[in-house]
């Protein structure tokens, strides 16, 4: 299979004077789970709606399975969609909701009935066919919306922040279920979210959107460990952005006591470095290689301990994170600490400070 499941090529879209998408291009392979990640207003939902056919792009094209669909009306596209507010039909039962697309296709009643039962079993709602929508819980409605789209066996399934209205526990549970469902059906999933943890947890690849463009596309680990831009570094997870300066012919972390970047790395003389909090370690008090600092803020998050440290003479506070189990005793606000920086794990970012 050489053609991708979904190709977006040079798609631009503006609403009045607002440019929502600027020449976005992307290829998604068959059976992939790809997330569109970004803050509100970045264009991810607009792109989703263009793929679904509810908006027309000002430029560019969309192809499914190598075939252009840009000019196809929404109801002829082999694309399924689960809306943010689910949009379940309030005047139909669960079974009729799920079987809506089949009824439109004039599928034989007996065949449709079997398919509906099968897909309800797939989403673990067997026997719910006769219920009405308002009798269901939030999680159950989610699954009905999914079933309704999946029964059509779409080439691509689009999901527009379907879990954002649910509480944390339910969200985690459904994330897992969605992932399993995707593996089982082998459908290509495009998942829009603003929650980067969600995107990292579920996706084969993540596309990070900023201001109508894709800053980076890649596997979750790649995006996390090697962010391509400052925005990606700061949006996906937390990070410390440190300026590089030239000093005596070497690249040095500014304001951090002259720590130099390891020569092994291809380091420009000036630029930015992204260092994740978990790569800032607490060294024993007598370790000379560390930098002296004082704890400014402490946050106990169950599994992880986060701290904000101030280095004397340095304007920028440094974030550090570690498993709470391994945190040294006696840590409190105002306590002195020694910080070590695992620069091998740092990422070099383009652009000036």
């Amino acid at each position: 299979m050489t053609e991708s499941a979904l190709t977006v090529r040079g798609v631009s879209k503006s609403f009045g004077r607002v440019q929502a998408l600027r020449g976005v291009s992307l290829d998604i392979g068959h059976g992939e789970f790809v997330s569109f990640l970004g803050p509100s207003g970045c264009g991810k939902t607009t792109l989703l709606r263009i793929i679904a056919g509810f908006e027309t792009p000002n430029a560019g094209e969309v192809l499914i399975g190598g075939k252009p669909i840009t000019h196809l009306p929404a109801f002829r596209r082999p694309v399924g969609i689960v809306f943010q507010n689910l949009a379940l039909f309030p005047h139909l039962s669960v079974a009729s909701n799920v079987g809506f697309g089949l009824a439109v296709r004039r599928e034989a009643a007996a065949v449709a009935k079997r398919k509906i039962e099968d897909v309800l079993a797939l989403v673990e709602l067997q026997g719910f066919g006769d219920r009405r929508v308002h009798q269901l819980s939030g999680g159950q409605r989610q699954r009905v919306a999914l079933a309704r789209a999946l029964i059509m066996q779409p080439d691509v399934l689009l999901l527009d922040e379907p879990l954002s209205a649910l509480d944390l526990k339910l969200r985690r549970q459904l994330q897992g279920e969605l992932k399993r469902l995707q593996r089982r059906t082998g459908t290509t999933f495009v998942f829009v979210t603003h929650d980067q943890e969600e995107a990292l947890a579920m996706s084969d690849r993540v596309a990070v959107f900023r201001n109508g463009q894709i800053d980076q596309v890649g596997a979750p680990e790649a995006v996390y460990r090697n962010p391509a831009t400052r925005f990606v570094a700061e949006f996906v997870g937390e990070t410390n952005i440190i300026e590089l300066q030239r000093q005596d012919g070497r690249a040095v972390l500014a304001n951090l006591g002259g720590i130099t970047m390891p020569a092994a790395q291809e380091v420009p003389m000036t630029g930015l470095v992204s260092l994740r909090p978990e790569n800032v370690v607490l060294l024993p008090a007598d370790d000379p290689s560390g930098v002296a600092a004082k704890v400014a803020d402490l946050e106990f998050g169950g599994m992880t301990l986060r701290l904000l440290a101030e280095i004397p003479g340095c304007v920028q506070p440094i974030r550090a994170a570690m498993p709470a189990e391994r945190a040294p005793a006696g840590l409190a606000v105002g306590a002195p600490v020694r910080l070590g920086f695992d620069l091998a794990s740092a990422a070099i970012l383009p652009g000036a400070a």
Binding site: A74, F75, F89, R148, M152
Partner: protein, 286 residues
């Protein structure tokens, strides 16, 4: 302090509530009293005792039966015409980019008295009205065509006058239908027409039914339009009542006719309202 259960923050005692409700209660009381007056007047005979003689008389009179039938027929025709015309129009307006402009066009006539809108048709359809003047002017006919004072003129005029009621009834519900529902329909393969019949129509039906009840009621109880466009020869119950009082000074007869009108209208409307309530109940409040 008692728990606040209402949005006003007031905790009213039953006595206070009674006091507040008094003015409205008086108004309703007057209304019911007037209806009682109709019943008393129509259910007594010349001697002052209770009797159905008047109703017997009326319902056996050919003229009255004809008027009742004509009222039902006109009201039903007007309702159907309004329904069939208003639905496409409402759908069109609901989705249009120029929705507000179109709404101004529909709502403005609705705010004027129906005597004014009926007058418009008198000007158009009269024997010396605009249509006849044009027809005679171009020479298509030498004598004015009788358009006014026909059932056609009455039904046309009433339908035109009452169309805004139906459009607004349907639009009230249609504009509240979540746009995502039609998009969901399309994402599942239903084209525009199919989406309308499978999604928009079922969800807007309660509004259409409520519009039907409204239009039917106004048509059945109309007097001014039937007088101006239908004439005195082909009477409906409204014009008949009017005649009984202002030409014949017969209040009991007018009262009896009024109650016949009320009962027949209720019989026509009740199924519509039951259907509307049932439909609203089936649509989930998510």
């Amino acid at each position: 302090m008692a728990a606040i259960i209402s949005g006003t923050g007031l905790a009213l005692s039953p006595a206070a509530r009674l006091l507040l409700a008094l003015p409205k209660a008086l108004a309703i009381g007057a209304f019911l009293f007037s209806l009682l007056g109709l019943m008393i007047a129509s259910f007594t005979d010349a001697g002052g005792g209770a009797s159905l003689a008047l109703y017997h008389d009326l319902l056996n009179s050919h003229a009255t039966r004809l008027a009742i039938w004509r009222t039902l027929w006109v009201a039903t025709m007007v309702t159907l015409i309004c329904l069939v015309t208003a639905y496409p129009l409402a759908t069109f307006i609901a989705r249009s980019r120029h929705r507000d402009l179109m709404l101004i066009l529909v709502i403005s006539p609705w705010l004027t008295s129906l005597v004014i809108r009926t007058f418009g048709w008198v000007v158009l359809l009269g024997n010396r009205g605009v249509i006849n003047q044009i027809l005679m002017g171009i020479g298509l006919t030498s004598e004015p065509i009788q358009i006014i004072f026909t059932p056609f003129a009455l039904v046309l005029g009433l339908a035109h006058v009452l169309l805004p009621f139906m459009v607004i009834s349907i639009l009230s519900v249609m504009m509240q239908i979540d746009r995502r529902l039609t998009e969901a329909g399309m994402s599942l393969g239903a084209g525009p027409v199919e989406t309308f019949f499978r999604v928009t129509l079922p969800l807007s039906a309660p509004g259409a039914l409520s519009g039907c009840a409204l239009v039917y009621l106004i048509s059945a109880g109309a007097i001014v339009t039937p007088l101006l466009l239908g004439g005195l020869r082909d009477r409906v119950i409204g014009t008949q009542i009017f005649q009984e009082i202002f030409a014949l000074y017969d209040f009991p007869r007018a009262a009896a006719l009024a109650l016949i009108l009320v009962v027949t209208s209720l019989i026509a409307i009740t199924p519509i309202q039951i259907a509307e309530a049932w439909l609203r109940g089936r649509i989930s409040r998510i």
